[in-house]
């Protein structure tokens, strides 16, 4: 059996290695997980500074739990997902920041300005539409299409069957399309059809 490089090891194995004092394991886990946690938080809060804080806090909780983590108990990514979801809920309950911290993020100069603005307008419309959906439908849609989780992973996180997830997604898409009808006409999507 060929030996694995550290980058090929699964999250739980790397976490166990970290708990035994291997800094390389922490580096790989940081690079592998932090961007996902940040993206998950951003898609819910639409604020980069808050999303960074939450990603950092979630990773801190991961380091703390490392010595006690039991591989067979739960999937690490599922546990982390729930940590971020809870932190986002807590953040939403707090009073919203005002002023500069809510200013829009600077546009990436490497992207064409028009294309970037189009993406931002669509993203903004999407987030608003998701907020109008029943909570569980929106949750399933975010996990499936923004966080790119599989249906079994969503089922584990939501503690429902895979069939229930498929049903939530189907109903959610129909409702979302209804909510976005005006924006679909106004903002278009034909450039995505290749």
């Amino acid at each position: 059996m060929p030996s694995q490089t550290p980058n090929q090891l699964d999250d739980a194995t790397l976490l166990a290695a970290y708990a035994k004092g291997m800094p390389e394991a922490a580096r790989i886990l940081t690079e592998r997980l932090t961007p996902k946690l940040y993206a998950q938080a951003y898609h819910r809060l639409q604020n980069a500074a808050d999303a960074e804080d939450i990603a950092q806090e979630a990773m801190l909780r991961l380091w703390k739990i490392a010595p006690d983590w039991q591989s067979g108990r739960a999937k690490l990514s599922t546990w982390l997902y729930q940590v971020v979801a809870n932190l986002c809920k807590d953040r939403c309950r707090k009073p919203q920041m005002t002023g500069l911290e809510q200013a829009p993020e600077p546009i990436d100069p490497s992207l064409a300005v028009e294309s970037h603005l189009q993406d931002e307008r669509r993203a903004s419309a999407l987030y608003k539409a998701l907020d109008q959906l029943p909570q569980r439908q929106a949750q399933a849609l975010r996990m499936r299409h923004l966080d790119e989780l599989s249906n079994p992973e969503i089922a584990a996180i939501m503690a429902v069957s895979i069939e229930a997830v498929e049903s939530l997604l189907a109903r959610g898409r129909r409702q979302l399309k209804t909510c976005l009808e005006a924006e679909i006409s106004a903002l278009g999507y034909h450039d995505e059809k290749v």
Partner: protein
């Protein structure tokens, strides 16, 4: 990867793709902060692990525990000092100065003071034994 199995939702897919593309990149400091936390906690947890499982340290700690129980059981410093004095006096009386032992013996019996040197209450019995 085709995320939308239903072709009627291609328009929705465009919106989700836009949301992913509009995601601002995290700052460089985020990675540094996360790694700093990891290293700080690793140092703390490593120190705790060493205290609880390091074999050498555990052995020394065991000795320390042994002495901490054993020493008071012997009476501590006072107990050891008393033992040393007794041992010294015993040595002195037993081997080095027999004349001191005789003097003490005489003092106890008071025979020198009474002028009864050589008197022994069992002397008569002893002489009778010698004489058969």
């Amino acid at each position: 990867m085709k995320k939308f199995e239903d072709q009627n939702h291609e328009d929705l897919e465009a919106f989700f793709l836009s949301a992913q593309r509009a995601l601002p990149a995290p700052s460089d400091q985020l990675r540094e902060r996360v790694l700093q936390n990891a290293q700080a906690l690793m140092a703390m947890q490593g120190a705790e692990t060493s205290d609880s499982t390091g074999s050498d340290i555990r052995f020394l700690g065991g000795l320390s525990d042994f002495w901490s129980d054993f020493w008071p059981g012997l009476g501590g410093f006072k107990g050891w000092a008393s033992l040393a004095v007794i041992a010294g006096l015993s040595f002195q009386f037993g081997g080095v100065a027999p004349e001191v032992e005789t003097q003490i013996y005489d003092m106890i019996l008071g025979q020198n003071e009474l002028g009864l040197e050589g008197s022994d209450p069992f002397e008569d019995l002893y002489l009778a034994y010698l004489e058969g």
